[in-house]
Protein backbone atom coordinates (compact mmCIF):
# COMPACT_ATOMS: atom_id res chain seq x y z
CA UNK A 1 0.00 0.00 0.00
CA UNK A 2 1.43 3.30 -1.15
CA UNK A 3 2.05 5.58 1.88
CA UNK A 4 1.42 8.78 -0.08
CA UNK A 5 -1.84 7.40 -1.38
CA UNK A 6 -3.03 6.36 2.06
CA UNK A 7 -2.07 9.77 3.48
CA UNK A 8 -4.13 11.41 0.74
CA UNK A 9 -7.00 9.04 1.53
CA UNK A 10 -6.78 9.99 5.22
CA UNK A 11 -6.50 13.74 4.78
CA UNK A 12 -8.23 14.55 1.49
CA UNK A 13 -10.58 11.95 -0.01
CA UNK A 14 -12.51 10.15 1.39
CA UNK A 15 -10.88 11.42 4.58
CA UNK A 16 -10.91 14.71 6.46
CA UNK A 17 -11.18 17.36 3.76
CA UNK A 18 -14.09 15.58 2.06
CA UNK A 19 -15.75 13.91 5.04
CA UNK A 20 -16.13 16.94 7.28
CA UNK A 21 -18.19 19.13 4.90
CA UNK A 22 -19.93 16.01 3.60
CA UNK A 23 -20.88 14.93 7.12
CA UNK A 24 -22.31 18.35 7.86
CA UNK A 25 -24.15 18.32 4.53
CA UNK A 26 -25.62 14.89 5.31
CA UNK A 27 -26.73 15.92 8.81
CA UNK A 28 -28.13 19.15 7.38
CA UNK A 29 -29.99 17.26 4.66
CA UNK A 30 -31.37 14.86 7.24
CA UNK A 31 -32.72 17.70 9.38
CA UNK A 32 -34.02 19.71 6.44
CA UNK A 33 -35.74 16.73 4.81
CA UNK A 34 -37.21 15.53 8.10
CA UNK A 35 -38.68 19.02 8.59
CA UNK A 36 -40.08 19.03 5.05
CA UNK A 37 -41.64 15.58 5.57
CA UNK A 38 -43.29 16.93 8.73
CA UNK A 39 -44.64 20.00 6.91
CA UNK A 40 -42.10 22.42 8.39
CA UNK A 41 -39.58 24.67 6.68
CA UNK A 42 -36.68 23.33 8.68
CA UNK A 43 -33.17 24.63 9.36
CA UNK A 44 -30.75 25.61 6.57
CA UNK A 45 -28.31 23.00 5.29
CA UNK A 46 -25.46 24.79 7.09
CA UNK A 47 -27.10 24.23 10.49
CA UNK A 48 -24.81 21.38 11.72
CA UNK A 49 -21.75 23.55 10.98
CA UNK A 50 -23.08 26.40 13.10
CA UNK A 51 -24.05 23.96 15.86
CA UNK A 52 -20.47 22.68 16.05
CA UNK A 53 -18.95 26.20 15.99
CA UNK A 54 -21.29 27.33 18.76
CA UNK A 55 -20.53 24.27 20.89
CA UNK A 56 -16.78 24.76 20.44
CA UNK A 57 -17.13 28.35 21.67
CA UNK A 58 -18.98 27.45 24.87
CA UNK A 59 -17.42 27.53 28.34
CA UNK A 60 -17.86 24.07 29.83
CA UNK A 61 -18.85 23.60 33.46
CA UNK A 62 -16.19 21.51 35.23
CA UNK A 63 -17.42 18.32 36.89
CA UNK A 64 -15.80 16.58 39.82
CA UNK A 65 -17.50 13.18 39.82
CA UNK A 66 -16.29 11.99 36.40
CA UNK A 67 -12.79 11.35 35.09
CA UNK A 68 -12.12 14.25 32.74
CA UNK A 69 -9.37 12.53 30.72
CA UNK A 70 -11.67 9.58 30.04
CA UNK A 71 -14.52 11.87 29.01
CA UNK A 72 -12.21 13.84 26.69
CA UNK A 73 -10.51 10.74 25.26
CA UNK A 74 -13.63 8.83 24.24
CA UNK A 75 -15.04 11.31 21.69
CA UNK A 76 -11.52 11.83 20.31
CA UNK A 77 -11.17 8.08 19.87
CA UNK A 78 -14.55 7.96 18.11
CA UNK A 79 -13.52 10.74 15.69
CA UNK A 80 -10.13 9.13 15.08
CA UNK A 81 -11.50 5.68 14.38
CA UNK A 82 -14.05 7.10 11.94
CA UNK A 83 -11.20 8.85 10.08
CA UNK A 84 -9.42 5.51 9.89
CA UNK A 85 -12.56 3.77 8.61
CA UNK A 86 -12.98 6.41 5.89
CA UNK A 87 -9.37 5.90 4.78
CA UNK A 88 -10.02 2.18 4.22
CA UNK A 89 -13.08 2.60 1.97
CA UNK A 90 -12.38 1.03 -1.46
CA UNK A 91 -13.52 3.96 -3.59
CA UNK A 92 -10.96 3.73 -6.37
CA UNK A 93 -9.80 1.03 -8.75
CA UNK A 94 -6.63 -0.94 -8.20
CA UNK A 95 -4.75 -1.87 -5.09
CA UNK A 96 -5.85 0.12 -2.08
CA UNK A 97 -5.77 -1.09 1.47
CA UNK A 98 -4.18 -4.44 2.28
CA UNK A 99 -5.34 -8.08 2.58
CA UNK A 100 -7.46 -8.38 5.72
CA UNK A 101 -8.49 -4.73 5.92
CA UNK A 102 -12.13 -5.84 6.14
CA UNK A 103 -11.49 -6.87 9.74
CA UNK A 104 -9.85 -3.55 10.54
CA UNK A 105 -12.77 -1.67 8.99
CA UNK A 106 -15.32 -3.63 11.04
CA UNK A 107 -13.31 -2.89 14.18
CA UNK A 108 -13.08 0.82 13.40
CA UNK A 109 -16.79 1.09 12.55
CA UNK A 110 -17.56 -0.50 15.92
CA UNK A 111 -15.51 2.06 17.85
CA UNK A 112 -18.01 4.98 18.06
CA UNK A 113 -20.80 2.84 19.57
CA UNK A 114 -18.28 1.33 21.98
CA UNK A 115 -16.95 4.78 22.92
CA UNK A 116 -20.50 5.97 23.44
CA UNK A 117 -21.30 3.04 25.72
CA UNK A 118 -18.18 3.72 27.79
CA UNK A 119 -18.94 7.45 27.80
CA UNK A 120 -22.45 6.81 29.07
CA UNK A 121 -21.14 4.82 32.01
CA UNK A 122 -18.13 7.09 32.61
CA UNK A 123 -20.28 10.22 32.77
CA UNK A 124 -21.81 8.94 36.04
CA UNK A 125 -25.32 9.96 35.09
CA UNK A 126 -28.38 7.75 35.41
CA UNK A 127 -29.60 8.82 31.95
CA UNK A 128 -26.16 8.13 30.54
CA UNK A 129 -26.23 4.65 32.02
CA UNK A 130 -29.68 3.88 30.63
CA UNK A 131 -28.60 5.14 27.21
CA UNK A 132 -25.36 3.16 27.35
CA UNK A 133 -27.21 -0.04 28.24
CA UNK A 134 -29.57 0.46 25.31
CA UNK A 135 -26.68 1.25 22.97
CA UNK A 136 -24.93 -1.95 24.07
CA UNK A 137 -28.00 -4.11 23.49
CA UNK A 138 -28.83 -2.57 20.12
CA UNK A 139 -25.17 -2.88 19.01
CA UNK A 140 -25.18 -6.60 19.75
CA UNK A 141 -28.54 -6.98 18.03
CA UNK A 142 -27.46 -5.20 14.85
CA UNK A 143 -24.05 -6.84 14.69
CA UNK A 144 -25.52 -10.30 14.13
CA UNK A 145 -26.97 -9.48 10.67
CA UNK A 146 -24.16 -7.03 9.84
CA UNK A 147 -21.30 -9.40 10.56
CA UNK A 148 -23.09 -12.32 8.89
CA UNK A 149 -23.53 -10.19 5.75
CA UNK A 150 -19.86 -9.22 5.78
CA UNK A 151 -18.82 -12.85 6.23
CA UNK A 152 -21.05 -13.72 3.26
CA UNK A 153 -19.37 -11.05 1.12
CA UNK A 154 -15.90 -12.20 2.11
CA UNK A 155 -16.79 -15.86 1.47
CA UNK A 156 -18.26 -15.17 -1.96
CA UNK A 157 -15.35 -12.99 -3.05
CA UNK A 158 -12.92 -15.46 -1.45
CA UNK A 159 -11.00 -12.54 0.02
CA UNK A 160 -10.72 -10.36 3.11
CA UNK A 161 -9.48 -7.47 1.00
CA UNK A 162 -12.04 -4.67 0.69
CA UNK A 163 -11.11 -3.54 -2.80
CA UNK A 164 -11.51 -7.13 -4.02
CA UNK A 165 -14.77 -7.69 -2.14
CA UNK A 166 -16.24 -4.49 -3.59
CA UNK A 167 -15.59 -5.65 -7.15
CA UNK A 168 -15.56 -9.45 -7.13
CA UNK A 169 -18.68 -10.40 -5.18
CA UNK A 170 -21.39 -11.89 -7.45
CA UNK A 171 -24.79 -10.19 -7.48
CA UNK A 172 -26.57 -13.23 -6.03
CA UNK A 173 -24.69 -12.68 -2.79
CA UNK A 174 -24.26 -8.95 -3.05
CA UNK A 175 -27.97 -8.12 -3.08
CA UNK A 176 -29.03 -9.98 0.11
CA UNK A 177 -25.83 -8.92 1.90
CA UNK A 178 -26.37 -5.31 0.90
CA UNK A 179 -29.98 -5.48 2.09
CA UNK A 180 -28.81 -6.75 5.48
CA UNK A 181 -26.21 -3.96 5.70
CA UNK A 182 -28.80 -1.33 4.72
CA UNK A 183 -31.10 -2.79 7.39
CA UNK A 184 -28.38 -2.11 9.95
CA UNK A 185 -27.64 1.46 8.77
CA UNK A 186 -30.45 3.21 10.71
CA UNK A 187 -29.43 1.22 13.78
CA UNK A 188 -25.79 2.27 13.50
CA UNK A 189 -26.79 5.89 12.85
CA UNK A 190 -29.31 5.84 15.73
CA UNK A 191 -32.14 6.93 13.45
CA UNK A 192 -35.76 6.79 14.32
CA UNK A 193 -37.19 3.32 14.57
CA UNK A 194 -33.93 2.42 16.33
CA UNK A 195 -33.19 5.73 18.08
CA UNK A 196 -33.28 4.00 21.45
CA UNK A 197 -29.87 4.95 22.74
CA UNK A 198 -29.98 8.68 22.18
CA UNK A 199 -33.80 8.73 22.67
CA UNK A 200 -34.12 12.51 22.77
CA UNK A 201 -36.32 13.87 25.59
CA UNK A 202 -37.27 10.36 26.71
CA UNK A 203 -33.97 9.74 28.54
CA UNK A 204 -32.75 13.36 28.10
CA UNK A 205 -29.91 12.79 25.64
CA UNK A 206 -28.84 9.24 26.46
CA UNK A 207 -25.10 8.62 26.84
CA UNK A 208 -24.29 12.23 25.90
CA UNK A 209 -26.46 13.81 28.61
CA UNK A 210 -23.50 15.04 30.67
CA UNK A 211 -21.33 16.26 27.79
CA UNK A 212 -21.18 19.98 27.11
CA UNK A 213 -19.35 22.48 24.95
CA UNK A 214 -16.30 21.29 22.94
CA UNK A 215 -16.68 17.63 23.96
CA UNK A 216 -20.26 17.58 22.71
CA UNK A 217 -19.00 19.20 19.51
CA UNK A 218 -16.55 16.31 19.14
CA UNK A 219 -19.41 13.82 19.48
CA UNK A 220 -21.34 15.74 16.82
CA UNK A 221 -18.28 15.52 14.57
CA UNK A 222 -17.96 11.79 15.22
CA UNK A 223 -21.63 11.39 14.33
CA UNK A 224 -21.20 13.36 11.10
CA UNK A 225 -18.19 11.23 10.13
CA UNK A 226 -20.18 8.10 11.02
CA UNK A 227 -22.78 9.15 8.46
CA UNK A 228 -20.14 9.56 5.76
CA UNK A 229 -18.33 6.33 6.63
CA UNK A 230 -21.40 4.09 6.89
CA UNK A 231 -23.25 5.42 3.85
CA UNK A 232 -19.90 5.41 2.04
CA UNK A 233 -19.27 1.79 2.94
CA UNK A 234 -22.70 0.83 1.61
CA UNK A 235 -22.03 2.95 -1.50
CA UNK A 236 -18.76 1.17 -2.31
CA UNK A 237 -20.59 -2.17 -2.15
CA UNK A 238 -23.55 -1.00 -4.23
CA UNK A 239 -21.64 -0.38 -7.43
CA UNK A 240 -19.06 -3.05 -8.34
CA UNK A 241 -17.56 -1.33 -11.40
CA UNK A 242 -14.53 0.94 -10.98
CA UNK A 243 -13.82 2.96 -14.11
CA UNK A 244 -10.20 3.71 -13.25
CA UNK A 245 -10.74 7.44 -13.75
CA UNK A 246 -10.46 8.82 -10.22
CA UNK A 247 -13.04 11.60 -10.63
CA UNK A 248 -15.70 9.29 -12.10
CA UNK A 249 -15.24 6.81 -9.25
CA UNK A 250 -15.32 9.62 -6.71
CA UNK A 251 -18.47 11.10 -8.22
CA UNK A 252 -20.27 7.74 -8.25
CA UNK A 253 -19.26 7.21 -4.62
CA UNK A 254 -20.52 10.65 -3.56
CA UNK A 255 -23.82 10.30 -5.43
CA UNK A 256 -24.53 6.81 -4.07
CA UNK A 257 -23.74 8.02 -0.53
CA UNK A 258 -26.07 10.99 -0.95
CA UNK A 259 -28.92 8.85 -2.33
CA UNK A 260 -29.02 6.95 0.97
CA UNK A 261 -29.63 10.10 3.03
CA UNK A 262 -33.22 10.85 1.86
CA UNK A 263 -34.09 7.15 2.11
CA UNK A 264 -32.86 6.93 5.70
CA UNK A 265 -34.60 10.21 6.54
CA UNK A 266 -37.85 9.00 5.05
CA UNK A 267 -37.69 5.88 7.20
CA UNK A 268 -36.88 7.98 10.27
CA UNK A 269 -39.76 10.42 9.65
CA UNK A 270 -42.30 7.71 8.91
CA UNK A 271 -41.68 5.59 11.98
CA UNK A 272 -41.88 5.94 15.74
CA UNK A 273 -39.29 4.72 18.22
CA UNK A 274 -39.43 1.00 18.97
CA UNK A 275 -38.97 -0.58 22.36
CA UNK A 276 -35.68 -2.35 22.95
CA UNK A 277 -37.29 -5.81 22.82
CA UNK A 278 -39.14 -4.99 19.59
CA UNK A 279 -36.02 -3.59 17.95
CA UNK A 280 -33.92 -6.60 18.95
CA UNK A 281 -36.59 -9.01 17.76
CA UNK A 282 -36.89 -7.19 14.43
CA UNK A 283 -33.13 -7.27 13.89
CA UNK A 284 -32.60 -10.84 14.94
CA UNK A 285 -35.63 -12.19 13.12
CA UNK A 286 -35.72 -10.27 9.81
CA UNK A 287 -32.20 -8.90 9.64
CA UNK A 288 -30.75 -12.30 10.36
CA UNK A 289 -33.00 -13.99 7.82
CA UNK A 290 -31.69 -11.73 5.06
CA UNK A 291 -28.12 -12.19 6.28
CA UNK A 292 -28.60 -15.98 6.45
CA UNK A 293 -29.82 -15.98 2.84
CA UNK A 294 -26.70 -14.04 1.88
CA UNK A 295 -24.51 -16.49 3.78
CA UNK A 296 -26.18 -19.55 2.23
CA UNK A 297 -25.88 -18.14 -1.30
CA UNK A 298 -22.25 -17.27 -0.64
CA UNK A 299 -21.48 -20.85 0.37
CA UNK A 300 -23.36 -22.21 -2.68
CA UNK A 301 -21.54 -19.80 -5.02
CA UNK A 302 -18.18 -20.70 -3.59
CA UNK A 303 -18.64 -24.45 -3.74
CA UNK A 304 -20.54 -24.37 -7.01
CA UNK A 305 -17.59 -22.53 -8.55
CA UNK A 306 -15.07 -25.30 -7.84
Amino acid sequence: MNPLRSLLALLVFPGLLYALPMGWLMLGMERKLRARFQGRIGPPLSQPFYDVVKLLAKWPVPRVVADKWLLAGLPLLAVGSMMGALTLLPVFAGESGFPGDLILLVGLLEMPPLCMILAGYASRSIYGEVGATREAIISIASNVPLLAALVALATAANSMHLSEIAVATPWTVRIPALLAILFCLPVKLRLNPFSLANAEQEILAGPLTEFDGPLLALWELAHALEWVALTGFAATLMFPVRSGLWFVDALVFVLLSLILVPLLTLLASATARLKIAQATRLLWRWGSVIAAVALATALLVRHGGH
Binding site: Q47, Y50, K54, E200
Partner: protein, 158 residues
Protein backbone atom coordinates in the same frame (compact mmCIF):
# COMPACT_ATOMS: atom_id res chain seq x y z
CA UNK B 1 -19.83 45.70 27.79
CA UNK B 2 -20.58 45.03 24.17
CA UNK B 3 -17.08 45.32 22.75
CA UNK B 4 -16.72 46.42 19.12
CA UNK B 5 -16.27 43.74 16.46
CA UNK B 6 -13.16 41.70 17.07
CA UNK B 7 -12.37 40.16 13.73
CA UNK B 8 -13.54 37.21 11.69
CA UNK B 9 -13.22 34.58 14.40
CA UNK B 10 -15.46 36.37 16.85
CA UNK B 11 -17.93 37.29 14.15
CA UNK B 12 -18.19 33.61 13.18
CA UNK B 13 -18.84 32.64 16.81
CA UNK B 14 -21.42 35.38 17.18
CA UNK B 15 -23.15 34.26 14.00
CA UNK B 16 -23.12 30.63 15.17
CA UNK B 17 -24.65 31.62 18.52
CA UNK B 18 -27.37 33.55 16.74
CA UNK B 19 -28.19 30.66 14.44
CA UNK B 20 -28.02 27.75 16.84
CA UNK B 21 -29.71 28.50 20.15
CA UNK B 22 -30.65 25.39 22.09
CA UNK B 23 -33.34 25.72 24.71
CA UNK B 24 -33.82 23.93 27.97
CA UNK B 25 -37.26 24.18 29.50
CA UNK B 26 -37.62 24.12 33.26
CA UNK B 27 -41.05 23.86 34.84
CA UNK B 28 -40.85 25.57 38.23
CA UNK B 29 -44.37 24.69 39.35
CA UNK B 30 -46.10 25.97 36.24
CA UNK B 31 -49.75 25.09 35.55
CA UNK B 32 -48.64 23.68 32.15
CA UNK B 33 -50.26 26.58 30.26
CA UNK B 34 -46.96 28.25 29.33
CA UNK B 35 -45.38 24.84 28.67
CA UNK B 36 -47.98 24.05 26.03
CA UNK B 37 -47.38 27.43 24.38
CA UNK B 38 -43.61 26.83 24.40
CA UNK B 39 -44.03 23.45 22.74
CA UNK B 40 -46.39 25.05 20.21
CA UNK B 41 -43.39 27.07 18.95
CA UNK B 42 -41.86 23.82 17.67
CA UNK B 43 -44.91 22.77 15.65
CA UNK B 44 -45.15 23.23 11.87
CA UNK B 45 -47.15 26.44 12.38
CA UNK B 46 -44.32 28.34 14.09
CA UNK B 47 -41.34 26.01 13.38
CA UNK B 48 -38.55 27.72 15.31
CA UNK B 49 -36.11 25.08 14.05
CA UNK B 50 -35.77 27.10 10.85
CA UNK B 51 -33.60 29.55 12.79
CA UNK B 52 -31.74 26.72 14.51
CA UNK B 53 -33.66 26.71 17.79
CA UNK B 54 -34.01 23.24 19.32
CA UNK B 55 -35.51 22.04 22.56
CA UNK B 56 -32.79 20.00 24.26
CA UNK B 57 -33.19 17.24 26.80
CA UNK B 58 -30.11 18.03 28.85
CA UNK B 59 -29.28 21.40 30.48
CA UNK B 60 -25.61 20.84 29.61
CA UNK B 61 -26.42 21.11 25.91
CA UNK B 62 -28.48 24.28 26.25
CA UNK B 63 -27.81 28.00 25.72
CA UNK B 64 -31.16 29.40 26.79
CA UNK B 65 -32.93 28.42 30.01
CA UNK B 66 -36.69 28.92 29.71
CA UNK B 67 -38.40 28.91 33.09
CA UNK B 68 -42.14 28.77 33.56
CA UNK B 69 -43.99 28.78 36.87
CA UNK B 70 -43.75 30.85 40.05
CA UNK B 71 -40.78 28.85 41.48
CA UNK B 72 -42.37 26.80 44.23
CA UNK B 73 -40.34 25.94 47.30
CA UNK B 74 -39.85 22.34 46.13
CA UNK B 75 -38.42 23.31 42.74
CA UNK B 76 -36.01 25.99 43.96
CA UNK B 77 -33.01 23.69 44.63
CA UNK B 78 -33.45 21.90 41.29
CA UNK B 79 -33.68 25.25 39.50
CA UNK B 80 -30.40 26.46 41.02
CA UNK B 81 -28.67 23.17 40.12
CA UNK B 82 -29.95 23.25 36.55
CA UNK B 83 -28.93 26.89 36.13
CA UNK B 84 -25.39 26.04 37.27
CA UNK B 85 -25.26 23.11 34.82
CA UNK B 86 -25.81 25.28 31.74
CA UNK B 87 -22.42 26.04 30.18
CA UNK B 88 -21.79 29.70 29.51
CA UNK B 89 -22.62 31.93 27.75
CA UNK B 90 -26.20 31.45 28.88
CA UNK B 91 -29.37 33.50 29.11
CA UNK B 92 -32.54 33.01 31.10
CA UNK B 93 -36.01 33.69 29.73
CA UNK B 94 -38.91 33.93 32.18
CA UNK B 95 -41.95 32.54 30.34
CA UNK B 96 -45.29 33.86 31.55
CA UNK B 97 -46.40 36.11 34.39
CA UNK B 98 -45.66 33.61 37.16
CA UNK B 99 -41.83 33.76 37.07
CA UNK B 100 -41.97 37.54 36.54
CA UNK B 101 -44.22 38.53 39.41
CA UNK B 102 -45.66 35.43 41.06
CA UNK B 103 -48.96 36.16 39.28
CA UNK B 104 -51.96 34.90 41.28
CA UNK B 105 -49.62 33.10 43.64
CA UNK B 106 -47.87 36.33 44.74
CA UNK B 107 -47.55 36.40 48.51
CA UNK B 108 -48.17 32.69 48.91
CA UNK B 109 -45.92 30.99 51.47
CA UNK B 110 -45.55 28.07 49.05
CA UNK B 111 -43.54 30.00 46.46
CA UNK B 112 -39.98 31.30 46.59
CA UNK B 113 -40.35 33.42 43.46
CA UNK B 114 -40.35 35.64 41.59
CA UNK B 115 -37.59 34.09 39.54
CA UNK B 116 -35.18 37.03 39.64
CA UNK B 117 -34.74 36.60 43.39
CA UNK B 118 -33.11 33.22 42.70
CA UNK B 119 -31.24 33.43 39.37
CA UNK B 120 -30.48 36.37 37.06
CA UNK B 121 -33.18 36.83 34.43
CA UNK B 122 -32.43 38.37 31.03
CA UNK B 123 -35.80 38.52 29.30
CA UNK B 124 -39.36 38.52 30.64
CA UNK B 125 -42.22 37.28 28.47
CA UNK B 126 -45.41 38.35 30.26
CA UNK B 127 -48.78 36.72 29.68
CA UNK B 128 -50.93 34.07 31.25
CA UNK B 129 -50.05 32.19 29.13
CA UNK B 130 -48.06 34.26 26.59
CA UNK B 131 -48.76 33.55 22.94
CA UNK B 132 -46.14 31.63 20.92
CA UNK B 133 -45.37 34.88 19.02
CA UNK B 134 -44.39 36.58 22.26
CA UNK B 135 -42.27 33.61 23.36
CA UNK B 136 -40.45 33.60 20.02
CA UNK B 137 -39.90 37.39 20.30
CA UNK B 138 -38.55 36.93 23.84
CA UNK B 139 -36.21 34.11 22.83
CA UNK B 140 -35.00 36.20 19.86
CA UNK B 141 -34.16 39.04 22.27
CA UNK B 142 -32.37 36.53 24.52
CA UNK B 143 -30.34 35.25 21.55
CA UNK B 144 -29.25 38.85 20.82
CA UNK B 145 -27.93 39.09 24.38
CA UNK B 146 -26.35 35.63 24.09
CA UNK B 147 -24.44 36.46 20.90
CA UNK B 148 -22.84 39.50 22.51
CA UNK B 149 -21.62 37.79 25.68
CA UNK B 150 -17.84 38.05 25.94
CA UNK B 151 -17.07 36.85 29.46
CA UNK B 152 -18.36 34.38 32.01
CA UNK B 153 -19.59 37.24 34.23
CA UNK B 154 -23.32 37.58 33.82
CA UNK B 155 -24.26 41.16 33.15
CA UNK B 156 -27.71 42.60 32.88
CA UNK B 157 -29.25 40.54 35.69
CA UNK B 158 -31.58 42.47 37.94
Amino acid sequence: MNAPERGLFFRLIERARRRSAWLFHFNAGSCNGCDIELVACLTPRYDVEQVGICLEGSPRHADVLCVSGPVTRTTRAALVTIYSQLPGPKVVVAIGSCPATGNVFAGSPMIDGPLDRIIPVDVYVPGCPPRPHSIIAGVARAIDLLAGRRSAVVEGGR
